[in-house]
Every structure is written in structure tokens, then in C-alpha cells.
Point group: C2
Chain length 222, copies 2
DNA sequence: GTCTATAGGCTGATAGAC
DNA sequence: GTCTATCAGCCTATAGAC
């Protein structure tokens, strides 16, 4: 009849947040549950109690990061045979770029927590054999890729599927780059965050892609 | 008078190779020197003897990977005021793409060792605060970036420096992408390696970039 | 150069009081 | 739900024989 018995001072959440920061800095094996618990002002036995194991805590960290920072909705991929397919594809491309830039927190002042989650995710994406990725991909990433591919197939018809993959790479690659190699970017910019202006980056990338596709926005209406 | 007293069965090198494979799989903290030594058919005390510490071995792994697999030479960045600057810039762009694709071992059958080194490097690049990157960047990466930026400044003059960075991202991003997220790529392709054909990828990316720049190779001579 | 043996410390997980 | 105390196992680094 009444609300769920919500725990008052949520140790569980404090553990997830502290773990996010520490896993990002030191990696899964680089930090112990004692240190995490201390940072969360909790007891190390709480890790086993709430998450079953250290690995369970790690899974919770990954899931929490996606659920907090990752947009789930995108315009559905346009139908190739629809009358206004080209216009929809252009809008879809633009939406994809902006959603990804937003998910990746490009050009915003990220919280330490967001930045830390990105670091963890990047480490995980770089693994050839991550046991966590397949599920997370299905739930949070695969749809976005398919939406992008569908748009690009319409905007530049006749490509092989390999070429569609290359083309997706020309859109996703630049967006991922700045999040992927923060250390190297910092070396290039003398330490200042990059990009500073997300809208400018999105606009540049959208324009760049349209030029390469040989499509002008004006064409697309007809 | 005679050759250096070269060790006969090089334990040092065996340790570096075994460590490359194991660090790639489990990360620096995820594997112990005992396990590394066992895989190298050596004694764990040899790590301290030859490299000073486990971290020293890790540094040796990074350095060995770069020195083995990473091209050091690129055509010098073209001078903007030279008479054939545009042609040189086009050649430089093409050379950059192919050198990077080669360094990244895209579309080749990589040895387990090369693939492992890539994994380690990717992990390291993703760190915000890697203590190893600045030196390696200076020695192996910064020059390539500057060469690319110089070419692009000539091919599309008048951009702000931020826009030059965006533009560099449209070239480097796609190339790095496939090495960065092997796990995700595998999920897209159903497990088969990607790209299968390096030359096709390079040609596509070069063509894509030229279209976006509004430059045709024929223009460049005059 | 290569080995064995070991010191000293940290790890994740858990049993059991409250 | 939260805590303390503790176990068994692992870690890196090193001392010292050969």
C-alpha cells in the first residue's frame, strides 16, 4: 500500500560512486575493496553483502554509468523507400552526432563521476574479450549503431556493407576519439580540455560528413 | 676487439614477450611476475634482475612494442608557401593514412604479440594520467600528428586551430576506432576481424576526406 | 646470470556478534 | 544492515647459494 522501504543513507550508492572513481583511476585489480569501502565511508563487508562480490560491484558500476549518462532514445531508423527518406536520414545523422556527443559528455564540464565512468568504459571497450560488453552493447549501443548505418545507407546508396562500416567509422571515430585518448589530447592542447565547444564540434562534423557524402541539406527536401 | 657478450638464450626478451601477452589479457595489476616468469620459462627473480621491478618490465614492454611496430619516418610536413604545397599536402595525407593503418596493423593478420601490444597501448592511451605516455608520445606519436595537421592546414586554409583539431579527428578517429574497440567491432561483424582489406579502408578514407575538403587530386598539381 | 627460499604485506571473502 | 575479526592465499622484492 505504501512506498518501498527505501534505505535511508544509501551505502549501496555510496559504494558504487566511490568504486567508480577508484576503478577509473586504478583499474579493477588495482584497487581493493577495503580502499573502496573507506572512500565510501562504509565497511568492506558491505561489498559482499550488497553486491555479492567485488566483481558484482564492478558490474553495478558499469550499469549505473550507462543508465545515468546514456540516452536511450533516438529517432527510429528511416525507411529507405519512404517518400522523405533523405530528409529523415539527414535528421537522423544530425541526431546521432548530437546524442553521441552528449553521451560522451564532449565539451561539457563533466562531473568527476561522469569522467570516471568514461574511463572505465573505455578500458572495457578496449578489451578483446570483455565478458561485460555483449550485454551492455545490446542494451545501450547496438541500436545507435544500426540507426546511424541506416541513415548513411540512404544518404549514400550503393555501398557495400564493408564500406558502410568504414563510413560509420568516419562519423563515430572522431566522436569517440576525444574521449578515448584524453591523455594524448591533453598533451596536444597543453592541458586544456578539448573540445571546448560541443555544438561547434557537432556542426563541423555534420558539415564535414555532408560534404563528403555530396549531399546538401537543401537537396534533401525534394 | 670482439662482439658484445650477447646472452645466448635471451631470458630478457622471453620475459618481455610473455609479459606483453599477459599484461594485454589481464592488465598490469591482473597478473603476477610469477605467472609471467612461468610463461617465459624463466625465474621470477629475473624480473628484478633484468628490469629492476615489475614496473620496469612494463616500461620495457611498451618501449619494445613501439620500437618494433611503429614507423618512425614520414614525409616532412609541407611548407605552406612552397609552390607545390598542395600536391605535397595530398601526398602527405595519403602517407599519413597508410602509415597509421600500418602502425595499427589494420587489416593484417597480426601476430599474437602485435595484437597484445595494441591492447596494452589502448589501455594506456585511455588513462587520463598515464605516467608513461608523455615520453612515448614525444618519441613516437607527436610528429605524426603535426605532419597531419600541417597537411590539412594547407588543404583547407583559413580554419581556426580548434577546427584543425576537429579535422585531424576525422582522419585519425576512424583509423583508431577499429583498434580501440575490438570487442565491439567483433559484436557488429559476428566475430570476423575488421577491416579485412587495409587498402580498401585507406582508399575509402582518403577519398572521403578529399570529398569533404572539396579538393580533387587533379586540382592539386597547378 | 640463474636459482631457491622467504620475508612482510596485501588480497577477497566470510563467520558471527549486534 | 552493519560491524569486527580473521582466514587462507596471493603478491613483490630480496638475500644469498651456486
Amino acid at each position: 500500500m505504501n512506498a518501498e522501504p527505501e534505505p535511508r543513507s544509501d551505502v549501496k550508492q555510496r559504494l558504487v560512486e566511490a568504486a567508480t572513481l577508484l576503478f577509473a583511476q586504478h583499474g579493477f585489480d588495482g584497487v581493493g575493496i577495503r580502499e573502496i569501502a573507506a572512500a565510501a565511508d562504509a565497511n568492506s563487508a558491505m561489498v559482499a553483502y550488497h553486491f555479492g562480490s567485488k566483481e558484482g560491484l564492478y558490474r553495478a558500476v558499469l550499469r549505473a554509468g550507462f543508465e545515468k549518462g546514456c540516452a536511450k532514445d533516438l529517432p527510429p531508423p528511416p525507411q529507405a523507400d519512404a517518400p522523405e527518406a533523405k530528409m529523415a536520414a539527414l535528421a537522423g545523422l544530425r541526431a546521432h552526432i548530437e546524442t553521441m556527443a552528449s553521451d560522451l559528455k564532449l565539451g561539457e564540464h563533466t562531473s568527476g563521476l561522469d569522467e570516471a565512468f568514461m574511463g572505465i568504459l573505455m578500458r572495457e571497450l578496449g578489451r578483446v574479450d570483455s565478458p561485460y560488453l555483449p550485454e551492455l552493447d545490446r542494451e545501450f549501443m547496438a541500436g545507435k549503431f544500426e540507426q546511424l548505418a541506416a541513415c548513411l545507407r540512404i544518404l549514400r546508396p550503393g555501398l557495400t556493407e564493408d564500406q558502410v562500416m568504414y563510413l560509420c567509422g568516419t562519423v563515430s571515430g572522431p566522436l569517440l576519439l576525444y574521449r578515448f585518448i584524453p591523455g594524448v589530447i591533453r598533451l596536444r592542447t597543453g592541458g586544456k580540455p578539448f573540445p571546448e565547444d560541443r555544438e561547434a564540434l557537432c556542426a563541423f562534423l555534420y558539415d564535414h560528413t555532408l560534404r563528403a557524402l555530396g549531399v546538401s541539406p537543401a537537396d534533401a527536401g525534394a
